[in-house]
Amino acid sequence: MAEQRKLWPFHGGLHLDDHKAESNASPVRSVALPRRLILPLQQHIGQRAEPVVSVGDAVRKGQLIAQATDYVSASIHAPSSGRVVEIGAAPIPHPSGLSDTCIVIETDGLDSWDELPAAMPDYRNADAADLRERIRWAGIVGLGGAAFPTAVKVNTSGQRPIDTLVINAAECEPYITCDDVLMREQAADVIDGIDILSHLIGARECLIGIEDNKPEAAEALRRAIAGRASGHDDRPIEVVVVPTLYPSGGEKQLILLLTGREVPSHGLPAAVGVLCQNVATVVAVADAVLRGRPLIERIVTVTGGGAKQPGNLRVAIGTPIDFLIAQAGGYSTHINQLILGGPMMGFGLRSDKVPLTKATNCLLAASRTETPNSQPERPCIRCGECARVCPAQLLPQHLYWHARARDFDKAQEYNLFDCIECGCCAYVCPAHIPLVAYYRFAKTEIWAQERDRDKSDLARRRHEARVARLERLEQERKARLRQKKEALDSKSGKTGAGDAKKAAIEAAMQRVAAKKAAQQVESGTE
């Protein structure tokens, strides 16, 4: 093994009990296909996908059922064969607990594949646009949880050239092990995906950041790198083991840790010549390019004291979570809360009758001891512990103070939007203040204000445009009248009697207008 690469530690962070052993001991299990698959049209950041099937249509596995509508959007494919039985509102896994439009497929159990596009084993000679188009077709989004369309992320044209591809294999949140087992079992696919992406973006090297609590996965990756077919101009790939420190898997934190480059506040990694991808996303890219397969399944961790058989499952996207948990052995009697994602950044589900989406990496069936009753919130004593652990180097106690006082300008002055909501501050707060909830509240309020401002700006602009247009029309009308009159005058050349008559008519007209106006004022005041 090569000598340890130099690391650039980020500020703050927490040493947490990782609780990985509960779920990473056994290999990935497959689960049965549910009767109904529910596919929300919005599983990603960006525009909702547009259905291209109708109720009653038969669909086959891998068939496109909803098309990306905008540049920032992602297509959706049928995870299995069957028939579309419904397109309408259904509950989705979202912090709001609201419903959204979903395509519901009744599976036929045959699981028969649709015709897939040709594999591209020769991707090194393919055009970058074709590769991006394939990734876009496959509906791939960031599988680490953010669900940003990958095809958009890898389109680096017009930006600063990317020299380093960073693969996020840190999986720093406690409990989650889906990336861990994926790397152990599909290390070769990970490396294939990296080669494709490196080629696509023209990166000089690739660094895989992985926490030191996953030695088996790191070893599997190293073996896969060593076993890579040589002869191509493949870029060097290095597995960089980093200390287990939450949140080392934060994109900006990991990039700093591995490269020493600090992504600017409000900026993208591209600004420092880096592209960062989650390890599961990379495997999805390999599937799409080398096998022509769309993103229709993923590995999800089911764990926690409230789950009877914690482990990792390979699941079709759209599988209802209650079905999935039942397949995984069901709930134990200790179940208290169901959290989608990890314990630090995940959100609670009110109901398990929602589907698994592309972004679902973990279902934490938390027992009572894993979600301790929240203690009473006390006043902040400004101890500064939050600032000591903040990986974004913010002053959380000041953010809290201004968010609570609804002084949102001040909160933004203290860089509210640089908060990554990792939860470190709330974790250490001795006064048990739900700090992250305050920041979310402030962000939401600011967004709402901005929307309102945009709306009123638009209304004002419209109004001004209308007034200007009416003014212009009036001017034009007057100009036409004047021209006509001048033409008439010059033609007739007569004056005198006509003028007196005209003056009398005008005076009468004015009297009528004044009377009308008076009536209007009267009726207006009534």
Binding site: E262, Q337, G341, M345, G348, R378, E421, R440
Partner: protein
């Protein structure tokens, strides 16, 4: 199945305000025992009076404000305030003065500003200063440490003095009381005596007042414990002591006959207690890393200035209160650079 939901993060650490305050109290134990060792029962009786009145006053105000009493009292902050005040008071202060300082600290300085977390000033020091300016005679009437006087006051005598306000039968104040080393240093310097002569007095130990220097050491131990347990940061104590030593050292180097050795400043009055337990009160101190360095250093500087040219025997309380006022401004100008912002706010 339906579940309850809560906001992330869904885990939390073991830290609590009660634990923080409890650790502060624990760290005060060695210094308090040293006070008992050198000054007898007086400090312990003061501690009892201050704690009882502080807790009672806090409970009363919380009741008036319509707040839950038990939930707030359990945070132990009132006990910490009372304890710090008691340690700063002369051992034989009349009981009602101790009680008054304690009630003022809790009711006016803490609760009237909104309770824990909202007080702009350090309550214990504000209470101390109120007593010092109101009762300058009793507040400067200290005992000599037992190692100097050779005899200790009994518990009964101490109680008698504190609760009656008069010296024991057949004794006078002059016989039992003494000035603090800082006070004596100032008085004698003002009489144009040299440091070398002053140091001949039996009140002096190796580098500070006899007894006092050891109390300082025990506070130091407690303070280091707090830094180790991450209850306080190192910046404020270090910068305050460094600021004090630097300026004291400068003047000592210029004229060692009229300015005491810097260690004297550290170990004679409340400097160590102030540096680790009082200036570090998070509510009233600066919170940014660089701000804390400035805040601490300026307290150290002010302590020297007030001790050397001011009219009061010790200066920690005044220096801390003055810098409490400056803390928000210091914070404003010392905001740290955030992730991804190079150079901003480094002015």
């Amino acid at each position: 199945m339906q579940f309850s939901i809560s906001s992330s993060p869904h885990q939390s650490g073991q830290q609590s305000v009660t634990r923080v305050m409890g650790l502060v109290l624990l760290a005060l134990v060695p210094g308090t025992l040293a006070m008992f060792w050198y000054f007898g029962w007086g400090p312990i009786i003061n501690l009892g009076i201050a704690t009882a009145t502080a807790v009672a006053a806090e409970a009363a105000v919380l009741h008036l404000r319509g707040r839950a009493i038990g939930v707030t009292l359990i945070d132990l902050s009132a006990v910490v305030t009372a304890w710090l005040l008691a340690l700063a008071l002369p051992p034989l202060l009349p009981w009602w003065q101790t009680a008054m300082g304690s009630v003022f600290a809790i009711v006016v300085v803490k609760q009237l500003f909104g309770g824990i977390g909202h007080n702009p000033f350090n309550p214990a020091m504000a209470g101390y200063v109120l007593l010092l300016v109101s009762f300058p005679v009793t507040m400067t009437r200290w005992l000599p440490p037992d190692v100097v006087s050779g005899s200790a006051l009994s518990l009964a005598d101490s109680l008698h003095i504190i609760f009656s306000g008069t010296p024991p039968l057949g004794q006078t104040w002059d016989a039992i009381s003494s000035a603090t080393p800082l006070d004596q240093m100032r008085t004698e310097l003002s009489q144009n005596r040299m440091i070398g002569e002053i140091r001949q007095s039996p009140l002096w130990g190796d580098f500070g007042g006899r007894g006092w220097e050891w109390i300082g050491n025990w506070y130091l131990l407690g303070g280091l414990f707090l830094i180790w347990r991450r209850v306080i940061g190192w910046r404020i104590p270090a910068s305050m002591l460094a600021g004090l030593v630097l300026i004291a050292g400068l003047f000592w180097a210029i004229d060692p006959d009229t300015h005491p050795f810097p260690a004297f400043h550290l170990f004679s009055g409340g400097a160590i207690l102030g540096a680790f337990f009082i200036a570090t009160d998070p509510v009233s101190a600066s919170t940014t890393p660089r701000g804390q360095l400035i805040y601490g250093a300026l307290i150290g500087l002010l302590v020297f200035v007030i001790r050397t040219w001011g009219g009061y025997p010790d200066a920690v309380a005044f220096a801390v209160l003055l810098m409490n006022m400056a803390a928000p401004t210091i914070d404003h100008y010392t905001q740290p650079r955030i992730f991804g912002q190079r150079g901003r706010g480094d002015a």
